[in-house]
């Protein structure tokens, strides 16, 4: 219930394959290393990957995990790395200094480190559609995570938006639980979800179905938000309308001592993620040079940077569920001449939530790109501000304050 300060050589944030590999490599290189994760155990995205079909039991229980997750737990234990689970990092400050909160003990941690490796992986790509704010809407990973802890009764009707591997994995999981896929579509801008208190129907221009749950399965996008909050220079990730830090081959950002590894650095595939994590972990332990600060990126006026998704059209679509901001409110500002994402965010409150990663930000960047194809990235990248996670005051108050006064 009080603040704790720790000084270590390397802090690794995120205990997925990249973070585990980085922590092991840093430790082998002689650095005192601590590995943090929001979850209680290491494993990262491996924890919600569905097991291969031949490994599934005949009688459904909860959705079985991939055995890979158990392997990474064992690796961490065997290598003697200090692992601190249930620990949410909410900010990185100059030093570098990592601010984290450990919920079970209600303790605020301050880590002073020589190097910080950000291995925060990816987040579900989510794109606002009409009615997505209704209860019953899930993204792919969100649904799979739930099915790992609790199976719904058989016969639940699903609508799936999206195709490709992400949709296939969701369909496999639904089949295993005895659910029914009643609707499928990839027509992002034409989907309408309806219902009074929760989702009841879904339709596009051709099909309509009664459904209980809608799953948007668009796969994942990189999640380097901590690096950007820490001040790393970044450019817009091609097609994604999400920011991407400038990185050296060793994963070093433009901020001395701040590194990005694995999926968060845009690496895909577990083997490559693991290999990248190892390289970055070694570099972090040895104190690799930062990326030189690039000139502000100005796009080639002859190139049209078309984003991955077309902008939504219906002005009544809610683009930020937490703040209740509609597309129309943002469009109105852009029509009035606003063209800086940080100004639009401040005025509409879109993307102002504590996670700083609302899909509203990608939507706003897309709207701006659509309107000004040659806009500089500095106008498109929302600088996230701490806290990136919940920070209870009590975990950070000095003893003198806690004994003085009463509630």
């Amino acid at each position: 219930m009080s603040q704790l300060e720790r000084t270590v050589d390397v802090v690794v944030i995120g205990a997925g394959p990249a973070g585990v590999a980085a922590a092991i490599a840093a430790t082998r290189a002689g650095a005192q290393t601590i590995l943090l994760d929001e979850a209680a155990t290491p494993g990262g995205h491996l924890r919600w990957e569905v097991a291969d079909f031949e490994e599934l039991p005949a009688v459904p229980a909860i959705l079985p995990r991939s055995p890979l997750a158990e392997i990474s737990v064992q690796e961490v234990v065997d290598s003697g790395i200090e692992f601190l689970g249930d620990t949410a990092v909410w900010g990185i400050f100059p030093g570098p200094l990592v601010a984290a909160y450990h919920a079970p003990s209600d303790t605020g941690y301050t880590f002073r480190a020589t190097s910080v490796v950000i291995a925060t992986g990816s987040a579900d790509r989510v794109w606002p559609v009409k009615g997505w704010e209704l209860p019953g809407f899930h993204t792919e990973r969100d649904l799979l995570t739930r099915l790992h802890t609790e199976l719904p009764p058989a016969g639940v009707r699903y609508g799936i938006i999206g195709g490709g591997d992400a949709a296939l994995q969701v369909k496999a999981a639904i089949a295993y639980t005895g659910g029914v896929v009643a609707f499928e579509s990839v027509a992002i801008t034409k989907i309408v979800i309806e219902g009074d208190v929760r989702i009841a129907h879904i339709h596009d221009e051709e099909n309509r179905a009664d459904v209980d749950v809608v799953v948007q399965a668009f796969g994942q996008r990189i999640e380097p938000v901590l690096a950007i909050q820490a001040g790393a220079a970044c450019t817009l990730h091609v097609g994604e309308a999400v920011p991407s830090p400038y990185l050296t081959p060793d994963g070093a950002t433009t901020v001395p001592g701040i590194f990005v590894a694995g999926e968060a650095a845009g690496v895909q595939g577990d083997r490559w993620i693991y290999a990248h994590g190892e390289r970055v972990g070694r570099a972090a332990a040895n104190g690799a040079e930062p990326h030189p600060t690039p000139e502000p990126y100005v796009p080639d006026p002859n190139s049209f940077r078309r984003p991955y998704f077309p902008p939504p059209r219906d002005p009544s679509i809610v683009i930020d569920r937490e703040q209740g901001v509609t597309l129309g409110e943002v469009q109105k500002l852009i029509d009035a001449g606003a063209w800086d994402i940080n100004d639009i965010r401040r005025q509409t409150r879109a993307g102002m939530g504590s996670s700083n990663t609302s899909p509203a930000l990608a939507v706003i960047a897309t709207l701006l790109l659509w309107r000004y194809p040659h806009i500089e990235d500095v106008r498109l990248i929302a600088r996230p501000r701490p806290p990136l996670r919940d920070v209870p005051f009590l975990g950070y108050l000095p003893e003198t304050t806690q004994t003085g006064g009463s509630l």
Partner: protein, 388 residues
Amino acid sequence: MSAAITTPIEIAIIGGGVIGTSIAWHLARRGAKVTLVEQRGLASAASGSSAGGVRQQGRDLREMPLAIASIARWEHLSDELEADIHYLRDGHISVTEHEDDLHAMRETVARQRAAGLDIVLVEGDDLRALVPGITPQAVAGTYTANDGHANPILTTHAFGTAAVRHGAKIMLNTRVTGIQRAGDRITGLETTNGPVTCDWLVLAAGAWSTGLAQQLDLELPIRPMGLQMMATTKMPHLLDQVVGAWHRKLSLKQIPSGNYVIGGGWPGDPDLETNLGLPRYESILGSMDHSSAIFPALRKAQLERVWIGIEAETSDEVPVLGPVDHLANLTLATGFTGHGFALSPIVGQLMSELILDGTPSVPIDALTFARFAEGSAVARTAPRVHAG
């Protein structure tokens, strides 16, 4: 300048914050032809980061007459602007936890009452009855019932919208790249969106004023200052007043949505290039500590947001208003040092009177640029209070 104007005077204003937009509206509604140039969006710097305090208490005595006159304007501002600006007149109290302060507090109350402020000392149980959530450690507070707070972003946009209704032109995303002069007169601006001609120029560009003034051979004693603000998540309603504290860096209020907004002069690191500021870890922790010591309900709070306002800080911490000697048609309205929001209605009014009538209805002599030119060290006449 003559009051009889036949063709409308053309006035350019640099800066789309709460000061520049207020001046634009006050001028436009009297028939002046106003062009406001803003490098980003309205309220994109200090005004968009302000805590929104509308306070007279604790003001430097040089700006006290303006603060008192401004409160009278705030009362009807929402009606005048035809917009909801979330103005609430719920009082401002500055408390102490030390008995030793009582003597100094009584003196402060006497001095500020003499300056015309309706301020009283509230002690002991009266204090706890007035502010139920205050720490039991608090022994007394100086209280102004007609201070309050409003929403700075809504207010700035309301000023801007009202100015446009009266024919003002607002150029957003427009950077001033040059200022044209003929002798001691400014004749126009070069901007990234073309030239702007003017009979008069108002410089209301906050922390960016210094660089612009240099183009006019004017050294403003203003430096950028990053002030940190924080907000908690929504909590049950408990606090009506704005709370400050002696010996603490604190400005605390609970806004209508239930979030607490906490400031008080904690430093952040401003970046004029990007218009963003970096919060400092020690400022966040310090602000949590001081605010929850004075208002213990905050011990159960969760931090939701931290932001930095890029303010213009003058060397003597009060604004620079009005003319300069060597330029005939320049008006300064800058350097508000983190406490300009409350003054914005009166500053708009006084600058419009200064430009159109030649004399403001409330004297601004103590706040003009001449105070620096005299080379005299200007002593502060009030304790430094940070409450935006």
